[in-house]
């Protein structure tokens, strides 16, 4: 049970600024996911929260208490390192129990916890092996186990499932979610897997170049991305981003696209403002007969994903993804006319890359 506040955290290696004015408020029992491209500072932030790396400026508070100078061991955390960092000279069993022995827990308790974790992570048969005799995925599970046995109030997981096969990863994801609910601990979890982020997180922090772009619930992040970066990073494929200019016609503002115009209800930006219109692939649909089209383009390729089909369409020199039901995708004309769900369109200011709020 830990509530974490990070205020204006800054960290740089020489001239390279890795964390820039990072402020985050992570609630007690929250499952916060850090998401962002490689090298954006996720591990660095995690290290700082663990107390393994000092910040150059800013502060970190646990339950309102500044933890500067508090040893990692005294922060009551369990941590999974991105590189696992298993103790190579110890058997798996000793890797798991090492932290408990330092805590001077009774032998029976240690045994019970190690067995519990080993069982949960399906590594019981590996307990007497050395880490060097394990596969990557097995090492990763040992690393998770070493964090879990501590029964800490804050867990820091750095890409804990990255090396597992798809089936095991799904299983582990469910286990971790269940654990989070059962343990009542706060989780901070780094991942590159958007499905993991979406399913596990109570809130997602999208980081880019050491800056927090948005910290919000998965729904919010998905439906109302705060910036062009978030819009282009979240979703597979991400949001279609179409450059446009605001024009107004008899007091009614609309987006002038390279070819065609798009009426966006609630758009209030000044005439001539350069904007970017964001539309999710599933918010585009084929026009009915006689309906006015928002976008018209040539079909480039169709990819069957299983439940639905992703059709790539070239509109004014730009590829746009449209998610269609497979039976609709099967009988497409070479040129298709599309209609966007008006109230699900996002609009960004091209200059500041920030989201423009629409008055609805």
């Amino acid at each position: 049970m830990t509530q974490i506040t990070i205020r204006n955290a800054e960290r740089s290696y020489g001239a390279l600024k890795v964390l820039r004015d990072v402020s985050l408020d992570i609630a007690d029992q929250e499952f916060a996911v850090l998401l962002g491209p490689s090298g954006c500072g996720k591990s660095t932030l995690l290290s700082a929260i663990a107390g393994l790396d000092d910040l150059q400026s800013g502060e970190i508070l646990f339950d309102g208490q500044n933890v500067a100078g508090v040893e990692p061991a005294d922060r009551d955390i369990g941590m999974v390192f991105q590189s696992y960092a298993l103790y190579p000279s110890m058997r798996v069993r000793d890797n798991l129990s090492f932290g408990l022995e330092t805590q001077k827990l009774p032998k029976a308790d240690i045994r019970k916890r190690v067995e519990w974790a080993a069982d949960l992570l399906q590594i019981t048969p590996l307990l007497d092996r050395k880490p060097s005799a394990l596969s990557g995925g097995q090492r990763q599970r040992v690393a998770i186990g070493r964090a879990l046995v501590r029964e800490a109030s804050l867990f820091l997981f750095d890409e804990p499932l990255s090396n597992l096969d798809a089936k095991l990863r799904t299983e582990m994801r469910v286990e971790i979610k269940a654990l989070h609910q059962r343990l009542g601990a706060t989780f901070i979890y780094v991942t590159h897997d958007q499905v993991e982020a979406m399913t596990l997180a109570t809130r997602i922090a999208v980081i880019n170049g050491g800056v927090i772009e948005q910290f919000a619930t998965p729904e919010e992040i998905y439906n109302r991305p705060a910036s062009l970066f978030v819009a282009g990073f979240i979703g597979a494929p991400p949001m279609n981003l179409i450059p446009a200019v605001v024009r107004s016609d008899a007091g009614q503002a609309y987006a002038q696209l390279a070819d065609g115009a798009l009426t966006i209800p609630g758009l209030t930006a000044a005439d001539g403002t350069e904007i970017v219109v964001g539309i999710r692939p599933e918010d585009l649909a084929l026009c009915e007969e006689g309906e006015a089209a928002d976008l018209t383009g040539k079909v480039v390729v169709a990819e069957l994903l299983g439940a639905d089909t992703l059709v790539w369409i070239e509109v004014a020199g730009q590829r746009i993804a449209v998610r269609l039901a497979p039976e609709d995708a099967d009988r497409l004309d070479p040129v298709v006319r599309l209609r966007a769900t008006a109230d699900r369109i996002s609009v960004f200011d091209a200059a500041s890359t920030k989201r423009l709020e629409l008055t609805r």
Binding site: A73, Y84, A85, P88, F98, R146
Partner: protein
């Protein structure tokens, strides 16, 4: 044109024979070089196996006619050093008594130093390392006089603790650098993980770092053992009359000017003195190569 082409595209068999010739040349060279460097050793061995009469009569290069270990037994237990005729064996014990605490202390302290300097945020670690480097490469003769004064001030001059302290002082810089380099190669996350697990400086050293240091400890031990065992000057100055090690005894034996010089005995004594470090090298070679961090990190 055709000649050039045939030179470039040689038949596989032709190429094989060239490779073989190159190998032959290489081995011939290595063999000659090895022979050249081992001549003094071979002469020592052969001379030590001769009788005194044979040494006086024949050339140094001649092989022993009736090889025997008489000179070795004399060198070990009967040869006269100064006025005592107990051979070189008395010095062996002294050497061991000096060797064990000196190597254990210097290797142990150097490992701890290297661990602290490379894996923990010691303030000014860079400056300390630079100072150590300086210490490792200044000729130690320069520091003997100040050390003599310091040792006599503390009251350990001419005693076992005195010589051990001096060996430790001279051993630590280079050994610390060796450990430092080795520990810098360990993944820093290991220490971080152990800190999260609540282990402190010494516990991490004992439970995590030391078990991974097997090979480097052996390398350091070899360096330290040979250094201490082969030392002559420091022992002569700091050890005191009762603790003179084998090397000093050997020098006295070889330098004794009473009667006819017994070259065969001298050679045998020298070989006996040189044997321990030699054996150590032969027995521990395999530890130089094995990897240690297998399994700690990804990939």
């Amino acid at each position: 044109m055709t000649a050039a082409r045939s030179a470039r595209y040689r038949s596989p068999r032709h190429r094989q024979s060239i490779v073989r010739a190159q190998h032959f040349g290489l081995y011939l060279f290595l063999f000659t070089a090895a022979l050249f460097f081992s001549i003094p050793l071979l002469i020592m061995i052969s001379t030590s196996l001769k009788t005194a009469a044979e040494v006086r009569a024949g050339s140094v290069f001649a092989l022993p006619v009736e090889p025997g270990f008489a000179a070795w037994t004399r060198a070990w237990g009967e040869a006269c050093i100064g006025r005592t005729c107990e051979g070189i064996s008395a010095g062996l014990w002294n050497s061991v008594i000096i060797l064990i605490p000196s190597t254990v202390l210097s290797v142990g302290l150097a490992a701890l130093n290297g661990y602290a300097l490379s894996l923990w945020n010691v303030p000014r670690a860079g400056a300390i390392l630079a100072a150590l480097l300086l210490g490792a490469f200044i000729p130690y003769q320069v520091m003997i006089y100040p050390l003599v004064r310091m040792a006599s001030t503390v009251g350990i001059y001419g005693s076992l603790p005195g010589i051990v302290a001096v060996h430790v002082i001279f051993g630590i810089p280079v050994l610390t650098l060796i450990f430092c380099n080795f520990y810098k190669g360990l993944p820093p996350e290991l220490i971080k993980a152990a800190r999260v697990d609540g282990a402190g400086f010494f516990r991490i050293f004992r439970r995590i770092v030391l078990p991974m240091s097997g090979n480097i400890i052996i390398v350091a031990l070899i360096l330290s053992v040979t250094g201490v065992w082969n030392d002559y000057l420091l022992s002569l100055i700091f050890a005191g009359r009762d603790n003179l090690p084998m090397t000093v005894q050997l020098a006295s034996l070889v330098g004794t000017r009473i009667g006819v010089p017994e070259y065969n005995v001298n050679m045998a004594a020298t070989l006996i003195t040189a044997l321990p470090p030699l054996l150590l090298y032969l027995l521990s070679g395999k530890y130089f190569v094995r990897g240690v961090t297998a399994g700690a990190i990804k990939g």
